[in-house]
Every structure is written in C-alpha cells, then in structure tokens.
C-alpha cells in the first residue's frame, strides 16, 4: 500500500498528489512514469511522474479525473492509501547537451512538461515554456512553470487569460521572432502534439513528444502500447515514452487509443476518458 501524504486540487478536474514511494522517489527522472491500481478491481493506469523528492521519499502525480480509476483516485485524501504503485518506468527525457529549448504543455499535459522543463533548467539550458489551456479556469502550475523557465507564455483558446490562441500559433510566433531552438518538447493531447510537430518540421527542429498509449504492465510484456515510429513498431513503455514527433504515426495512435471507447460508453459508471482527451488533455 502506498500512502497519500499530500493532496491539492489544481482545478475542477485536475488533482495533485504526493505519494509515499521511497524506492521510486530515489530513482525517478523527468519523463518517467508510474503505474497505479486503485483497488483490486481497478485497471493499471500509467501516470507520468510530475515531481519527486528522494529525501522525503515521495512521488508527485498530477492527473485529470476522467476514467473510473482516476475518478476514484481523486476521491482519496491525505492519509489514504493506493493499492499498487510501481515505477519508475520508461526512459528519462534526454536533457543533456541542449542549450535553447522550448517546452510546451497542453492542459494537464503541463504537469508532464513541467518536470522536463525543470530538469533542462537545472541542467543550464535556456528554457522557454508555452502552456496552453482552453480557458482561465483550468490554468494549472503557473508559478511552478515560471520558476523553471526563462520565459513562460500562457495561452488560452478563448483569450480569457494570457494570450488568445493555440500553442501552435505561439510556437510559430517565437520561431518567426528569431528564436533558435535546438529542441522542442511537446506534451499534451495527441492532436496538439501532432500539429506542433508539423510546426517544427520545416525548420528541422528536433521535437520530442511524450506518448501515453493504452498499456497494462509497463515493462514490455503486453505490447498493447505499440506505436509506429519511423515505420517501425516500438513499445512506448520500454522504448519511450518520448519519441521523435516527426516520426510518430499520430493518426494510428489516435485510433488505437480509442480502442475501448465503445465499451466505456456502454458502462454507466464510466465516463469516456478518450473523448475528453480530445478537448482537454490525455489522462495524465
């Protein structure tokens, strides 16, 4: 059992939790993920590690309550326990050798973009961050992101906060203004990552995206998380989760992630996380 030592609501649907998991906290690196299982009937759900504190032995997760497991998790409180919590899984985001980086988060994807920005910032890179949200009400982690970036640009689709527009427009504007990025990291809903990769493609800017396909074990055993990258089948759990955005077959992945859409619709207790993913972010 893994104890929740802190809980904070970041907005109506997004929750931050610090979970006692000393072995994972000692090992975790930006970009890696954990898998949790809420109770004996729950699914194994992957969540990216948002932060970790080796000294306190805690791992921070930030998630949107969209599926039945994340909804149940959001109902737990400080002092409650999660049945299973395993990690750190996947490879760390590569941060070595980059000087000028733009890290982009979409919605709850900012929770995953944040640790990458933090790691790059600590490694001495110049970090610009673009954080996109639908509207003012769901803006999260603004102070945290500001603290680990040289410039933070917040955009909202409706203009209710920060700049009006999409993150793709902002990235284009920054490139047009003469910013020479040697790396772009894009984390958010699949369509967002797909279009951001298209923005950078003509300039040949290396673009990393963090993928979160359906998976069970997270150790390479089920193959459910396979994605086509550069024409080859890769397993997101062990070969990723970060991949070259210019090589990923996003359309195929969007179809695969919709795998169980029909079943989730059938179930009265389930709200479809995939449908939600399209507008807000992935279930992270």
């Amino acid at each position: 059992m893994y104890k929740i030592v802190a809980k904070r609501k970041l907005n109506e649907a997004v929750t931050l939790m610090e979970v006692e998991a000393p072995y994972i906290a000692a090992k975790a690196k930006a970009g890696q993920f954990i898998i949790f299982r809420i109770d004996q009937y729950g699914e194994r759900v992957p969540l990216t590690i948002a932060d970790h504190d080796a000294e306190k032995g805690t791992v921070t997760i930030i998630f949107q309550a969209v599926g039945s497991s994340t909804k149940a998790l959001s109902q737990l409180n400080e002092g409650d326990e999660i049945l299973d919590f395993v990690g750190p899984l996947g490879n760390a985001t590569e941060i070595e050798g980059y000087k000028n980086v733009c890290v982009i988060g979409g919605g709850v994807g900012c929770a995953i973009a944040y640790p990458s920005a933090k790691a790059l910032h600590e490694a001495g890179a110049h970090v610009d961050m673009i954080a996109g949200f639908r509207n003012k009400d769901i803006v999260i982690l603004e102070d945290e992101m500001r603290a680990v970036s040289d410039n933070l640009y917040v955009t909202t689709d409706d203009g209710s906060y920060g700049e009006k527009g999409f993150v793709t427009n902002k990235l284009q504007a920054l490139i047009d203004a003469g910013n020479k990025y040697d790396l772009v990291i894009a984390i958010g809903p699949l369509p967002m990552m797909k279009f951001l990769s298209e923005v950078t493609r003509p300039y040949g800017i290396k673009t990393l995206v963090s993928l979160n396909p359906i998976m069970i074990d997270g150790t390479g055993m089920c193959g459910g998380c396979r994605v086509t990258v550069g024409g080859k089948i890769r397993f997101a759990c062990v070969d990723g989760p970060d991949f070259d955005g210019h090589e990923v077959d996003f359309d195929e992945l969007m179809r695969r992630n919709a795998y169980y859409k029909a079943q989730e619709r059938e179930s009265a207790n389930h709200e479809c996380r995939i449908l939600k993913m399209g507008d807000a972010a992935k279930e992270e």
Binding site: Y23, I24, K27, R37, Y41, G42, E43, R44, S68, S69, L83, D84, F85, V86, G87, P88, L89, I216, D217, G218, T219, G220, M221, C222, G223, G224, R226, V227, T228, I233, V238, D249, E252, R255, R256, A258, Y259, Y260, Q263, E264, H270
Partner: protein
C-alpha cells in the same frame, strides 16, 4: 496384482457446451475411488523410468503406492519433498512428454495417469489438511529472487527450507508470473496458485510485488542491499509480432496482452474495470499451448467463430494433444497450413479480416519438422474482427541491459551453465529467461538446481 486396464481412469470434465460459457476449471479431478483405482495400475518398477523423466525427480512409484493404499497425506509428503508446486504441476505439466512418456505401461496401452494422481493428492491435501507450521532455523544469509513464476517460486521455496532469508521481487501486483497472467483460470484456477504462494510465505519467504528489477532497483543495488546471491527467473515476457501489414489495427493483440487482460486483470468479470474486445470472430495465430489458451479464452468471452491459424500441419503443432483435443471439443476451428500475409482493416481502423496464404510441407528444417512452403497465389481472406498473435515470446531486456557482466545470447536469453550460474559471480538464472519460452516444469527444475547451486556458492564463499 496390478490393475491391468490398458487405459487410464477417465478424467471427469465439464461438458464442452457448458464450459464454453464459463471460466471454471475444465478438468474436475479424480475422486478418492478413482485415484486409488488408477494408482493400482502402477507396476512399481524397480528401475523407476518415470522418475528419470521428471525434472524435479518426484519419487513417483512411492507416492502412487501410498495413494493405492489410501494414504493420501503420506503421498503428499513424498511429492512435496522434491516438488513445491504439486497442484500446479498436476494440472499444467507436460506429463505425456516427461514422466508418463517413460512409463512401462505406456508401451502397451496408456501410461499410468501420474499427473492426474499428483493433482488428486495436492487437491486432497488442500481440501483436508492444515499445513503444519514449519519451524526452520534461519542461517542468516539473504538471497534475492527476481520473478515469482514457477522457477522463482521453486528456487525460493527450496532456499527457504534450507534456512535462507529469501525475498522475491515481482514486477506485477500479484505473485505467480505466467501462472497468473498467462495460464487461464479454466486450466489452472488462480486460487490454487495463491495457495502455493501463501505456503511459500508461511515458510518465511518475503514477497515484494510492484518491484521492477532493472528499474526500481538494479541487480547491483540488490547486492548493495545485502543479498549475497541473486536468482533471475524473470521469464520470457516480450511478445513477438510477425511484422506484417496491419498489426497495429484495432483488434490485434499479442497473446500476452489478451491473456493478461483476462487472467490477471479479470476482464471476464463485470466486477473488474478491465476492458476487452467483444469479438464475433477471432483468429489466433500460432500452434502452441498459449495459442490454445487464447482461442479457448476467446470462445468463453463469447466469440461465435474462433480459428487457430497455423503455418504447419496439426502433426507439427507444439501444443499438448490434450489442449488441442479440448479446443476442438469446444468448437475451435483449425486452419492449419495457412500463414498470415497481412491483416486487413475497415475504414474505422478496426480489423475486418486476416489474409493467409496456403502452405504445403517440404523437407524437414532445422527443428526436425517438415518446413512449410507457401503455395504461390493461394492467398485468401478469413473474416475476423480480432487477431491474437501467439507466435512466441522472448526474454525481457530490462535486467540484462542494466546489469554489467551478465552475458546473454543472440536471442536475448541469459547464458547459464548446468548449475544455473551466469557469467556474473553470485548471479544465477533459470527458466524461460535462460531457455526462451518453455514449460512450467522445466522452469521449476531450473529453479531447484539454482537453489542448490546458490546454497553451495554461499557456503563456499563464507568458508573460504
């Protein structure tokens, strides 16, 4: 006077038309009377050929003699002296190619039903006896076992009995390895696996689930934590795909994923959140036991048509005859001598058919089996909405890629000698991690050998 019947006492089974609607065990087990009668078929041969066919050397004629006399608990003691998982072995061991293949009775008629008797004894014990509290004097040495499948459980059990403090590290949330995620409930009830795991814990073995060695901790860190020797029994969990067109379509699974969703994650039960595709027609590609398990599972999940697509003929099929027989009884259709060429999708990205090419058998290949050769122009489609790839697995690279000095071969299997020692001092390995996908009993045999090698290694290290 021995019972001279040429055939085994038949195993009571659920009727096919009933069992395809549930996930309960197919084979129901002998009654006491049946067991005693079957036991009298054993000739108690002096040279005991059956024992030499058992990777863990169960004293087969001895335990059968006790069964014949109705001393079932005595029989249990004899079996468990060398086999710590009798209820599992009695069900899933390939007896027909092991002990029973050596049985003298098998030269004319059927061999003695050794597996069935072993199962009976184990089940009788579980139902009637309370495990005596075993007092083991700890010897103060710690051993780490990676993986809680058949090799790890066996190795841990043997070491615990010798007085070692053993910790098993398991990546999943539940112990048992392939016994819980791979083999279906209808062949091996999970409650039985749990009882065997509980028994190990009662011997003092510590079980640490949710622990991925290579990620959460490395082999080097285990040594740093004070473990004096390490056994790697991490299995062969990496699924193979055919690398044909259409394998990423919706509705294509690896057998590992399909079976894990159903067995470990219990997708067949409404109580659990795990989703699984509701299929009408399923093609399972492959001819091994895992393919049979996947096909029979698909049937139980409600598929109207389930096909086994296999590129050789039924004669070359690696699956146990019993599994093939059960699958056929349950209405699984065998499309042998057909090799998939691509998987075809509908516009929505879901599987609509599998295209196969007909094969014929040529000369024997390296495996000794006749090589299948494609018949040009014979491609045809089989209409299915789900495809399960069951063409084999290989060892996971997580451990070998994070452990220096640990040699592996070209197929990714760890290299271990006859004593199960790897190239790294103090690190032993066995089971599918070494052999590639094989059987439960071979893995158990390896775990057993490794336990005695580890015992020897630690004793020598501390005396020298």
């Amino acid at each position: 006077m021995a019972n001279l019947s040429l055939t085994k006492i038949p195993m009571p089974e659920q009727k096919p038309e009933e069992r395809i609607k549930n996930f309960q065990e197919v084979a129901l087990g002998y009654t006491e009377e049946m067991a005693k009668e079957e036991a009298t078929r054993c000739l108690n041969c002096k040279n005991r050929p059956c024992v030499s066919g058992c990777p863990v050397n169960v004293r087969i004629p001895d335990f059968i003699a006790q069964v014949a006399q109705g001393n079932f608990e005595e029989a249990y003691k004899i079996i468990t002296a060398t086999n710590c998982l009798p209820a599992v072995c009695g069900r899933v061991c390939t007896q027909e190619s092991q002990c029973e293949s050596k049985c003298v009775r098998g030269t004319k008629g059927e061999s003695v039903g050794i597996g069935r008797l072993e199962r009976f004894v184990a089940d009788y014990h579980m139902a009637h006896a309370k495990d005596e509290e075993v007092k083991i004097e700890k010897n103060g040495h710690r051993v780490a076992v990676i993986g809680s499948g058949p090799s790890g459980l066996t190795c841990a059990g043997d070491l615990a009995r010798l007085g070692y403090s053993v910790t098993i590290f398991e990546a999943f949330h539940k112990a048992g390895g392939v016994l819980v995620y791979g083999i279906p409930e209808f062949r091996l009830p999970k409650a039985i696996v749990q009882k065997e795991v509980d028994r190990l814990e009662s011997l003092g073995v510590e079980m640490r689930t949710n622990f991925v060695i290579g990620k959460t901790l490395t082999v080097d860190e285990l040594f740093a934590e004070g473990y004096e020797a390490i056994f790697i029994g991490s299995g062969a969990g990496l699924p193979s795909f055919m690398n044909i067109e259409g394998e990423s379509l919706i509705g294509v699974y690896s057998a590992n994923e399909y079976l894990t969703r159903v067995n470990l994650m219990k997708a067949y039960s409404d109580q659990y959140d795990t989703p699984i595709r509701h299929s009408k027609a399923v093609a399972v590609v492959g001819g091994g036991n895992v393919a049979m398990d996947a096909a029979r599972t698909a049937k139980r999940l409600g598929a109207e048509k389930v096909y086994i697509v296999y590129r050789r003929s039924e004669e070359e099929m690696p699956a146990r005859a019993e599994e093939v027989h059960h699958a056929k009884e349950e209405g699984i259709e065998f499309k042998c001598l057909n090799n998939p060429t691509r998987i075809l999708g509908a516009e929505n990205g879901e599987v609509r058919a599998i295209e196969v090419i007909s094969m014929e058998l040529g000369e024997p290949d390296a495996s000794g089996r006749r090589k299948p050769i494609a018949i040009a122009g014979s491609e045809h489609e089989i209409e299915v909405d789900t495809v399960v790839m069951s063409i084999g697995t290989s060892p996971n690279p997580l451990i070998r890629s994070t452990t220096s000095g640990l040699d592996a071969n070209a197929r990714g299997c760890l290299v271990a000698d006859a004593e199960m020692a790897t190239s790294r001092p103090g690190v032993f390995a066995g089971g599918d991690a070494v052999t590639g996908a094989a059987t439960v009993i071979l893995a158990m045999g390896a775990g057993k050998t490794a336990a005695s090698s580890i015992d020897k290694y630690i004793k020598e290290k501390n005396n020298g």
